[in-house]
């Protein structure tokens, strides 16, 4: 293991006020971005506590704890409707204002807004500072924008839940932490957000905490995340060891001086960061928590477990692009984990029946794509996919949520205890739920990668870059990248297939919900459909902001109306260009020779769209013909490969047998054998032994005067002997 020699090179500190002034842009009240959700959390939290207290005292007195006894909900349930989404809307507006300001300015370095010195010791200083640059701005927009839509959706979805105010409190808190995560100006702040969103995820997964399974799922998410956090922490220690600081600016500016490119240090740091990212973004082998996380309310799944939090890992890798660019081995690992995760999750998604589980695995799979992108150095592509994925996956979840909402009501009214999330119980929902059906199809086509929807551009860019970097002249892992490329294509096909399966089973075919319940199926209220529509629009056009030059003619909006060819690429350039430079320097130029023998990107795009479309059509035809049975009437669980996939490659079982149970057994052994028996036993033994010795010694005290005289004489002899002989 080698370490960069100490080289205190004079590098400039970028957050110098002079530099900021040159940029000519002052951020607009950036603190509000954080304060608004925080204020929302505090207000909602207070309301939630009051509501919960009221319901608790009702419960104690044995009364009906339903807060909606009257026609109107109590005040504690009315205000969150305005506070929760309102805070987000305002935050989104502030973010937009800043975005507009930033796009107007020619910003080449991040704007750091320090608030106070958070942790300052003799040698370490972490300030509570936020950093506004193109990347964090984009993330902020996604978080607040998509976040607002999901808040809005939740107003309808959670309306009748007694924990309504608590729900919004958690959601606001989540946004607060997520914004800290993306806005933090150093790894320390990022970590605050990192664990904070983990906490909110924990609370929201276990939102219905009196259900043991849901509480379990939350706990599992937290613990698995903590494994990732372990990596993050150690990476921070290493970075601090090298740079003496955790500030992004100093680290990235000094990385080349302080570390050897491709050296052990940077590789270790990046791998450890990847461990953190794998935990947060549910990559192999830490992906197991995300499917369970579906126990939370569906909008939560949309916001946290699809659009924002789980992409934090990708964001972090992109944020650390300079470091990753310096560590090709780590890049290969990141990309490998990404593509493998994508494949594994996609295969599992093929055989799931729970609609949310399918989406969860789909999310894992798409995150895998993002990591593939980030791993191969296509950071822009990864962020691009992150963004489009936020749109269409949020849409999918919300759509699924609408369906579940409807199913739940219908089944509830019908008095059935069937699982409203099981697709086998659905079918034919397109009739009562037309909006959701259309929106979902848009999202499905987008995720499948059909031109010109959002997913097409982002996913293809990743796949294309994989091929391109595979051909880079100095790439030591060129062959590996080629394998990644093939696997990625395969996975894209699988994606198209399982998404079509989801659509068919949910919306098409015969309704399997039962005659009684069918009458109660209905379209979601408007407050829920509006977000669906907005997201559907975004899923369609969201991809147009980064159309490759070769394809720019293909998108109508680009004819003067939206002059945005490769806009995202240019937008993120100040953040990623150093990484790109480094990578190019290390691996050589990426191959322009495209994989289809000179037919160019257009042909490639055409082919990929066609392939995806073919899969969709083929799957639709094939699956529509199949007759599904409701869950209750389904046969025995499948065996063989199907069973293997249905059981999620037995990851949970392996972890349970291989890690969890041994750990618990070890803990028990430590307690009973080591702690109680050996250590405490020794302690007690000392006590007992002393008293036993006392008892034994007291036996000499026979009460016989002659014994005493004898002992005395013996003593005299001993002392005499000692005195005379010595």
């Amino acid at each position: 293991m080698e370490f960069a020699a100490f080289a205190p090179g004079p590098y400039t500190v970028v957050q110098d006020p002079a530099v900021q002034e040159a940029a000519g842009w002052e951020p607009f009240l950036p603190g509000l971005l954080l304060l608004l959700p925080l204020a929302g959390f505090i207000a909602n939290g207070w309301l939630a506590l009051r509501a919960a207290s009221r319901s608790a005292s009702a419960l104690r007195t044995g009364a009906d704890p339903d807060p909606f006894q009257g026609a109107t909900p109590p005040r504690t349930h009315r205000w969150p409707t305005w506070i929760g989404p309102g805070a987000l809307l305002l935050a989104f507006l502030v973010a937009m204002a800043n975005f507009v300001g930033m796009s107007g300015a020619d910003l080449h370095a991040p704007v750091v807004v320090p608030y106070w010195s958070w942790i300052a010791t003799g040698s370490l200083e972490i300030s509570a500072a936020i950093q506004l640059d193109q990347l964090s701005m984009l993330m902020t927009l996604v978080v607040t924008g998509v976040g607002f839509l999901i808040h809005l959706f939740s107003v309808g979805y959670m309306r009748e839940d007694p924990g309504y105010p608590r729900y919004f409190a958690y959601l606001n808190l989540f946004v607060f932490f997520m914004l800290i995560l993306v806005l933090g100006a150093n790894y320390g702040m990022m970590f605050v957000g990192w664990e904070g969103v983990g906490l909110c995820s924990y609370l929201l997964i276990g939102f219905w905490f009196t259900d043991r399974e849901k509480a379990d799922a939350g706990k599992k998410a937290f613990i698995v995340n903590r494994i990732g956090d372990f990596g993050f922490l150690v990476a921070m220690f290493l970075l601090f060891g090298v740079f003496g600081t955790l500030d992004f600016q100093t680290i990235f500016a000094g990385a080349e001086q302080q570390m050897v490119a491709g050296g052990a240090t940077v590789t270790l740091v990046t791998l450890l960061l990847m461990l953190g990212a794998a935990g947060k973004s549910a990559q192999l082998p830490l992906h197991i928590w995300l499917p369970d996380a579906m126990a939370g309310p569906t909008p939560v799944s949309a916001l946290i477990h699809a659009a924002t939090m789980v992409t934090a890992g990708v964001y972090m890798v992109a944020r650390s692009s300079v470091l990753y660019a310096m560590a090709p081995a780590s890049q290969a690992v990141v990309a490998g984990i990404g593509v493998l995760t994508a494949l594994v999750a996609a295969t599992i998604a093929l055989r799931q029946h729970d609609i949310k589980k399918v989406l969860a695995y789909s999310t894992i799979s798409q995150l895998g794509f993002m990591f593939l992108g980030a791993g191969i150095g296509a950071f822009t592509a990864a962020i691009f996919h992150l963004m489009t994925h936020a749109f269409f996956k949020a849409l999918l979840f919300l759509g699924a949520g609408a369906a579940i909402h409807s199913m739940h009501h219908a089944l509830h009214r019908a008095g059935s205890h069937a699982d409203p999330q099981d697709m086998r119980n659905m079918g034919g929902l397109k009739t009562p739920m037309r909006t959701a059906w259309i929106a979902m199809w848009i999202a499905t086509l987008a995720i499948a990668g059909i031109w010109p929807l959002a997913g097409f551009f982002s996913k293809d860019e990743i796949i294309w870059y994989t091929a391109a970097w595979a051909g880079a002249p100095d790439n030591p892992f060129g062959g590996l990248y080629t394998v990644y490329w093939i696997v990625a294509i395969l996975t894209a096909m699988l994606t198209a297939f399982y998404m079509t399966r989801l659509m068919v089973m949910t919306f098409h075919g015969r309704s399997r919900v039962g005659a009684q319940a069918r009458a109660h199926l209905h379209e979601a209220p408007r407050v829920m459909t509006i977000p669906l529509i907005v997201l559907a629009v975004l899923s369609v056009f969201g991809g147009w902001i980064n159309v490759p030059a070769a394809l720019r003619e293909s998108v109508p909006g680009l004819y003067g109306v939206l002059p945005m060819s490769e806009w995202l690429h240019h937008w993120l350039e100040p953040v990623t260009h150093r990484a790109t430079e480094l990578q190019t320097a290390a691996l050589g130029d990426k191959a322009h020779a495209d994989p289809l023998a000179g037919l160019g990107e257009v042909a490639w795009a055409l082919m990929s769209t066609l392939a995806a479309a073919l899969v969709v059509v083929w799957a639709f035809r094939r699956l529509s013909a199949r007759r599904y049975a409701p869950a209750a009437e389904s046969g025995p669980p499948p065996g063989g490969l199907r069973g293997f996939l249905a059981n999620k490659w037995y990851f949970d079982e392996i972890y349970d047998r291989g890690i969890v149970r041994p750990l618990v057994a070890l803990s028990r052994w430590c307690w009973r054998a080591v702690d109680a028996a050996i250590i405490d036993g020794t302690v007690n033994l000392v006590g007992y032994a002393t008293r036993l010795a006392g008892f034994a010694a007291s036996l000499f005290q026979t009460g016989q005067a002659t014994t005493y005289a004898f002992a005395l004489t013996l003593g005299v002899l001993l002392i005499l002997g000692a005195a005379v002989l010595l």
């Binding site: 007291s698 005290q701 026979t702 009460g703 016989q704 005067a705 002659t706």
Partner: protein, 97 residues
């Protein structure tokens, strides 16, 4: 000469000691102790030949003390005899451990 006297004294003392250890009768034990004291007296007398007259003086002290001791001792033995109806010290083991 001195060593002979001291030897005799020591021998007497040892006999007394042995008596204390092996005998069971309180009075005999007490007499053995007296024997020890007298062994000491013998030593004092013998030593006084070399160190001056005090040695012989001390013998009187010891004898006086021994007499006083005997008075108290016998009283105690009588007292305990009233309780136990014996002077066998082996019987007196109410207090032990």
């Amino acid at each position: 000469m001195l060593s002979h006297a001291l030897m005799l004294s020591a021998a007497l003392f040892v006999i007394g000691t042995l008596g204390v250890v092996v005998r069971r009768n309180a009075i005999i034990i007490f007499l053995c102790i007296e024997l020890q004291l007298n062994a000491v007296n013998l030593a004092f007398v013998a030593l006084s030949r070399y160190t001056g007259i005090e040695g012989q003086l001390y013998v009187f002290f010891v004898m006086t003390v021994a007499a006083a001791e005997a008075a108290v001792g016998l009283a105690i033995i009588i007292a305990i005899f009233r309780h136990y109806k014996t002077v066998n010290v082996d019987q007196f083991n109410l207090l032990k451990w």
